[in-house]
Symmetry: C3
Subunit: 268 residues, 3 copies
Amino acid sequence: MITLASDFGTPYPAAMKGVLLRRTDARLVDVGHDFPRHDVRTAAFWLRETLPYFPPATHLVVVDPGVGTDRAAIAIRARDHTLVGPDNGVLLPAARRLAGDGALEISVVDEEALEPVVPAGETAPDPGEGPKSNTFHGRDVFAPTAAAVHESDGLDSLSLLTPTTDPVDLELPTAALEDGRAVGEVLVVDDFGNAITNVPGEFLKARERVVANGEPVPVGDTFEAVPAGERLATVGSHGYVELDVNRGRGEAAFDLAVGDRVVLESAD
Amino acid sequence: MITLASDFGTPYPAAMKGVLLRRTDARLVDVGHDFPRHDVRTAAFWLRETLPYFPPATHLVVVDPGVGTDRAAIAIRARDHTLVGPDNGVLLPAARRLAGDGALEISVVDEEALEPVVPAGETAPDPGEGPKSNTFHGRDVFAPTAAAVHESDGLDSLSLLTPTTDPVDLELPTAALEDGRAVGEVLVVDDFGNAITNVPGEFLKARERVVANGEPVPVGDTFEAVPAGERLATVGSHGYVELDVNRGRGEAAFDLAVGDRVVLESAD
Amino acid sequence: MITLASDFGTPYPAAMKGVLLRRTDARLVDVGHDFPRHDVRTAAFWLRETLPYFPPATHLVVVDPGVGTDRAAIAIRARDHTLVGPDNGVLLPAARRLAGDGALEISVVDEEALEPVVPAGETAPDPGEGPKSNTFHGRDVFAPTAAAVHESDGLDSLSLLTPTTDPVDLELPTAALEDGRAVGEVLVVDDFGNAITNVPGEFLKARERVVANGEPVPVGDTFEAVPAGERLATVGSHGYVELDVNRGRGEAAFDLAVGDRVVLESAD
């Protein structure tokens, strides 16, 4: 199984699928292709929250504002999952969660060693004269790598991979908790408009209301704990405090965007 | 085969697929994940119009504004199709159509009897201490139920299901027809902007024009019966009268939204 | 394998998939369903740039503003690929590229010879009394044709196909090149906002800057060749000159839309 995630919209993911399906019979599953453009951190969050629900798989990720520069392509083994994508940190939060207390094996891809991508109706280029684009490594580098990884007997067996110990890292920010007060930020806004913070859900435990950025808000176990259109704080499906509106958009009602500071305080 | 429909956008459907694919090898097919948020009636319409074209399948549906409340999860057997979703009526119009003149078998899901969803890198909870969220039953309840239903030898064999006779029902409204006049409403607006009413297409039979909410409109067999940009009434692919614009958006030209009253009269 | 491309949005593609899956076990792969509405030329471009990356397949394409008129349904054999869609030119640019220097075999579909589409819960119509809609041939004509083609031993064996030699053609416009000057146009704007012209990428070779519609613009090998938010000309993944903004939208910065004239001149 190969999952695909990108900020590509349509139809670039289809070209990646075509390349994959020439090289593997794997099942393909889309994680999503409308992640915010060029936004490595948001993609890293969603991958960390989504990939652990999959069975062992190869995960192909292309959110890659540095395409065509000398940033490397990497593959990461995390227990029985493998992630393939650009060396910009986007894979790391998911890889660490997938590995649990296990170690990560991280390799750099030798792009020159990949079998070239040759569209139908054209002939293969001479070695070293590949048609690799500078703007679409999803098709020309990452999909071929994911296919090679998926079809291999393990990363060790692939000569195109070289172990590395210093990938570009990315840590999602954590909230500070003290004296019944949490200082965090909005990690992402989901498609429902829920403002998902990095404050652990435990903060809401046994509270009936909190003060969020100065304003009192009821705490609800479910969206329907408040009338339609009303604001609430709740523990979302990722285990974090979310600032939401029942059947509405929390980001608008709370006037919050990704990265905005969120201070939660006791209302008692 | 398992179909998936929701109002989730991206990437929540992927978490559902991951849960499914840990438990079944079934083919997964998306019906759509951008149904209007929290809009049970519109989803019910589209499911009724789409699911009957599929071969026998398990249909997983999550349009669920009541998530986390005491609304039940249900499964419905309709001939050789099975539908799984929240007990809010969203499944019923499709189930009745799938059943034809057959009966429906409706069951309530015992959520505590589901095998817990455990993400990679974590350990399974103690019984009764499951990590079920209050906001993402698509992942934690409905996907596990759909997998169990799909892998079973029939609903009777599943101890997690208990027959019920009083599900929440939902009937899509029907138009009133009398004396060459039809009084109905806009059921949905599709992605093309076509305003699909609940007036049966037969109303247009043998007419060259009708009066729609007071204004005369040509009747066309096809969009191209009128010049690009012009309005027409036609019989859509669901068998209902649609108020459309050739290569344009009928909803805007007719100033109609979902639920708006539509009166069609003879223009002769 | 069957690929699907349309301007249908949601959920009409699902009805096509249902029809297909009743008739074939083929793998289904979406090329995309949010192509610009009724825009045959843009779809033709994307198909030409995307389908050649796939292994041999049946490609089902429905961008069909003439649905329900007497425009024919056609099938085209291009080497080991087959394309199915409306006879409006949308298939031709892709078919020619897939065929390389091979010939195209083009056939018209006898729609009356197709096995009727009968939704679950209904009975098959009498011969000649099929329920074919005038507005959804994707479901009622093209999907049944694609399934029949995919399941056949070759187009010759299908009695529902009749060879034709005069399909509606469509040629994507080419740029004029002379004396270090290129006069072309914007072929499409992609989801990133890149304005993709029809000027071959060679035009940028060995240049550090060009004059685009009168304004000097740096030439970059990659988006990152200029700071975030800055404009550049680059060779896109389709081999054409693109007018882009690093991490931004070129169409807005250059004030360009599809079909707009683009004049590139030497800046030296």
